[in-house]
């Protein structure tokens, strides 16, 4: 499989542009349907002005520790947030609908009325979840579930005769590495393995020819041996149909192997973003450096794994300055002025290279 060239060209049309997106938890419905803080406690802002852009056909990875807000960010794109507790309090999610012979149409998903938004869910932006076993209904055959999604989500899906639709589905299943498609179609979810189910889910998500697929840790629940296969299928099928992928993961190995670009999140903020090669080979932010140093190498003689001291702060302890400052060696060993700066201000994104590799740190 040949690696696609790194795309960071402002001329390539974006599929999705998330701008200054902040999500807060802890709202409740007050009188007259107005949103008020639940129990009078101010809502916790778990993501802080997250911005990133995904380009057409790109494989974009969002990495970070558990609880850093990567899933919340991804789910807020389609507003799949628990209601009324979680709300988008700031920013916009711009989705670009491709149009022939003209500039792409810009739609702000964060402000779209719900019935309108539901037309985008599944058909323009599809999701793949962590647990394929739970994502499929155990009492309905794979054939019926795929057909249902095809009818409901695919453009013009209702106009297809079942036989025609099945033909298309079988083709996609073959692309996903299934040889005995008839048997797979006739089986029920419990008769297939986790890896097979996840590949069925990938086929299902691509049936509607979406512009973007959000894959929320698609291999976390799977056996290590099939993870590579599932991701390869996802990458290959997305490339074939020109679909962009937003992959959420905490596995740096997966990122380096499959992604074109990566954004690293820490405590609700994106702290570094750039083409995968550059971020892996030359991380700028101290957190990314620590994260990459923590990956054990097969030929190293180290007895203990390297680790970053301390732990991720809870959202209620989020500070306005750099949230990594307390764990940051550079900050700790830096001058008094630097320490004050780190703790006092939000480090701005510093564009350092033409490739778009940027990090949010005062001491680069």
């Amino acid at each position: 499989m040949s690696r696609m060239p790194c795309i960071y060209d402002m001329n390539v049309a974006p599929v999705l542009s998330v701008r200054n997106l902040s999500v807060a938890f802890g709202f409740a419905k007050g009188r007259k349907g107005a949103l008020v803080p639940r129990d009078g406690v101010p809502p916790l802002q778990v993501t802080d002005k997250v911005s990133f852009e995904i380009h057409s056909g790109e494989f974009f990875a969002l990495v970070g520790e558990s609880g850093c807000g990567k899933s919340v960010t991804a789910m807020s794109i389609l507003r799949l947030l628990p209601q009324p507790s979680a709300q988008i309090v700031n920013g916009e999610v711009l989705f670009y609908e491709a149009q022939e012979h003209s500039a792409s149409k810009e739609i702000d998903l964060s402000r779209l009325p719900l019935p309108e938004l539901q037309k985008y869910r599944g058909s323009r932006i599809a999701c793949i979840f962590q647990e394929p076993m739970q994502a499929l209904n155990p009492v309905i055959s794979i054939r019926k579930q795929l057909l249902e999604v095809f009818r409901y989500c695919a453009p013009g899906g209702k106009n297809f005769a079942p036989a025609e639709a099945l033909g298309l589905i079988e083709e996609q299943l073959k692309d996903a590495g299934f040889t005995d498609t008839a048997r797979v179609l006739d089986s029920y979810p419990h008769e297939l393995s986790g890896g097979m189910l996840q590949r069925v889910c990938i086929v299902m998500s691509l049936l509607s020819r979406p512009r973007l697929i959000i894959a929320d840790e698609p291999t976390t629940a799977l056996d290590v041996t099939v993870q590579a296969q599932v991701l390869a299928v996802l990458k290959e099928m997305a490339r074939k149909s020109g679909t962009a992928v937003l992959l959420i993961t905490h596995n740096m190995g997966i990122v380096s192997q499959y992604a074109d670009r990566v954004a690293v999140m820490y405590a609700g903020r994106i702290i570094e973003t750039g083409p995968v090669r550059e971020v892996i080979n030359g991380p700028l932010h101290p957190y990314t450096q620590g994260l990459l140093a923590a990956i054990p190498e097969s030929h190293s003689q180290m007895k203990n794994l390297k680790s970053i001291p301390g732990s991720v702060p809870h959202p209620r302890d989020f500070v306005s300055g750099c949230r990594f400052a307390d764990r940051c060696e550079k900050c700790m060993n830096g001058s008094r002025e630097l320490q004050a700066k780190c703790r006092g201000e939000v480090p701005p994104a510093s564009k350092t290279k033409e490739t778009g590799h940027e990090a949010c740190c005062f001491d680069l």
Binding site: G122, F129, V139, Y152
Partner: protein, 355 residues
């Protein structure tokens, strides 16, 4: 699309069939019930076929008046008497047009459950003999005929009752679990109040005002019958509505009805199927006990409870109580066997133990 059984359903059916006791109980119950459904024609005192002076009649299936057979009233004739008179006439030596020429096929059990057979020498209840195989009750009615008709009515009653109760239970429990939150808690409190109403008093009260009809009794009893199932359905729906496939159907904007019936309900059928036979047993038991107390179906409807209370009053005529209790015992036992078989078939691990 053609109807196909899922593999799991096939497995369950196979497991049920492997359980010999449950399977044969089911076959016996089914055959006996289907046979009893023919009892209005086969357990009756009207001939299945009667040739009267060369013309054909089917009295068991159609109504004829006495005038058709030379009588003077518009009422239905007593066919047994008609046949007996014709035979007597022939025995007396009359021939030709003086005697009616009758030839009839009587049903296998030629006794009407409501007819009082008082033409014997002794006062009823009469002990079993060649004519009345299980004897007659205190009013001279044939016990076997009443048992068979009672079985038909009792099982039909219980089936309809359980079916209605199951549907109500699914819908109410499902709505509770599906909506959750305030609806769940609110309806649960109302159900608790409702379930603390004593059913027997309500049946007596309603019965004394509106009379004891089959459908009224079903409605009143169904109003209490669904409660236990609704608890199970509520729990299942509460669990299943958080599954990813249900939530994705929701966020795609699928209708509530689709999610309720197509996504969740098929996954929640286990308690429905498992409870069905046991609710059926409960229905048979409650109808019999209501009839025994005299608050059930309107007399003289043939019923087991009424027969049992007669047996209690006439202990010197043991054929009444013994046959009724035996029939009830066997029916309940077989239904329970079926229920156990269904339960085990739905849960393959129920026989396993960790030691």
């Amino acid at each position: 699309m053609k109807f196909r059984l899922t593999t799991e359903t096939k497995n369950r059916l196979a497991r049920f069939r492997k359980n010999k006791r449950a399977f044969w109980s089911f076959v016996v119950l089914l055959v006996v019930y289907l046979l009893s459904l023919t009892s209005p024609w086969t357990v009756n005192d009207k001939p299945l076929y009667m040739s009267f002076n060369g013309k054909s009649y089917f009295p068991a299936f159609a109504r004829y008046s006495e005038k058709d057979f030379g009588g003077s009233y518009d009422t239905e004739p007593d066919y047994k008497l008609l046949i007996a008179e014709a035979e007597e006439c022939k025995a007396d030596g009359f021939t030709g047009s003086n005697c009616d020429d009758i030839w009839a096929i009587m049903p296998p059990i030629p006794h009407d459950p409501l007819h009082h057979y008082l033409d014997g020498d002794e006062a009823p209840p009469c002990a079993p003999d060649g004519t009345h195989w299980l004897g007659t009750d205190a009013e001279g009615r044939d016990v076997l005929s009443r048992l068979i008709h009672g079985f038909r009515i009792c099982i039909s009653f219980s089936l309809v009752l359980t079916l209605i109760g199951t549907i109500i239970g699914i819908i109410i429990g499902g709505i509770q679990g599906y909506l959750g939150k305030f609806w769940d808690t609110g309806m649960q409190r109302i159900i608790e109040i409702w379930s603390s109403l004593p059913m027997l008093y309500v049946v007596i009260l309603i019965g004394s005002i509106y009379g004891h009809s089959f459908w009224l009794l079903i409605i009143v009893m169904a109003a209490f019958n669904w409660i236990s199932l609704s608890y199970y359905m509520r729990a299942e729906f509460l669990k299943l509505r958080n599954m990813t496939y249900v939530q994705s159907a929701k966020v795609l904007g699928m209708g509530h009805r689709h999610i309720f019936f197509k996504e969740i309900l098929p996954n929640a059928m286990t308690p429905v199927v498992t409870l069905f036979p046991f609710t059926l047993v409960g229905g048979i038991g409650s109808l019999t006990s209501l009839d025994y107390l005299g608050f059930g179906l309107q007399p003289p409807t043939p019923s087991w409870g009424e027969l049992m209370s007669q047996g209690m009053k006439h202990l010197y005529a043991p054929w009444i109580s013994v046959s009724t209790v035996a029939a009830l015992f066997v029916t309940l036992l077989l239904t329970t066997f079926v229920g156990e078989g269904v339960r085990d078939a739905m849960d393959p691990k129920s026989g396993d133990r960790y030691e």
